[in-house]
Symmetry: C2
Subunit: 230 residues, 2 copies
Amino acid sequence: MTITLYELTGKDATRPFSPHCWKTAMSLAHKGLEYSGSAVPFTAVPAVENGHGKTVPVIRDGEHILSDSFDIALYLEETYPERPSLFGGPGGIAMARFFEAWAQTQIHAVIGGALLLDIHAMLAPEDQVYFRESREGRIGLSLEEAVAASQSKVDGLSARLEPMRLVLKRQPFLGGQGPLFADYIVFGAFQWARVCSASTFLAADDPVADWFQRCLDLHGGIGRATAAAA
Amino acid sequence: MTITLYELTGKDATRPFSPHCWKTAMSLAHKGLEYSGSAVPFTAVPAVENGHGKTVPVIRDGEHILSDSFDIALYLEETYPERPSLFGGPGGIAMARFFEAWAQTQIHAVIGGALLLDIHAMLAPEDQVYFRESREGRIGLSLEEAVAASQSKVDGLSARLEPMRLVLKRQPFLGGQGPLFADYIVFGAFQWARVCSASTFLAADDPVADWFQRCLDLHGGIGRATAAAA
């Protein structure tokens, strides 16, 4: 039975952009599980599966409905143990939490601000109203001010990626010779940027950019199948 | 047969201080392996085991001589698979490399500069000459200038630890419910600071400080058995 993945989109229902939804799309593909994406704009999130989660991704796998990309990965690992592992053992589950925290504080905290107006431009009018009000309330700045304020953080992004660069000197993926959920956690952030914005966050000669291209090639190129923003 | 751990000390041969040697001491204790420490001052490192390694730690386990704390951990994991795991599976091995790179770039790069004069003061005269010349040559500053320059980095250390703080909200160790080599990688850095310097690098109410205290309690308190610098 095909799994349903509820994933965030804007006006164009064929362009999922949420970093967290991309983590789940890659997790499903890693496990070789067929899924069909169901496009959800911001204002429709509360109604997904009768209000199951406050956020997407949400998946329905038969009777099972789950939200939160990490919880979904754990569910897939436990439910489909005979398929390729997303964690490579219990140590990998515990350590993947660090990648989640690192990506959130070191990458999302930078890219998220820079993308605010790009995301706004992708949304239908009613979602634009919700997005502007919720984000401006949270940040305490207009979207325009927040994007301007993000520039200095964007300038510092490359330095924050140094630990990852050192690891990639030694192995092609954060998960070792092949990708694990840790890779998809970080991939989600850069795929978010790629789908939403024509801005460049990684220099072409950065080993992190090479790794990102390798991730775009994974699983039949499902990441690449959603075109980069023009 | 008892394993020998060659570990860096200063004038006082009972106070090993190298972060990398502490990673190995904790790894051996984690595996429940008996070892005897062999004190090595800086200028004696090249002669360890007839010049086996350019750095310590070095261990001798019967016929096997190894250097590099990560390589030693891998050797222990492979050689003593029936004892508690240091990695929790192959994913944990790959991901521990990220902790090594993160600690090196985010913690050692800060603490290392701040400790230069403290370390110098712990050394015998011939080691002081070596230490000052090698470090000043590498850094391009006098030790005194380097310590002064490190203050702004020390002020920024707390912010760099935010990913770890988020993980510790969820689980007591980086390795999950119990410690893994990932914990010892980060422990080594703060134990280095504790043994060398009376300076405080962690606020008392920082969850990272609580975690460090938990690490000092591990394995019969071997970390705590070397007293903090006064």
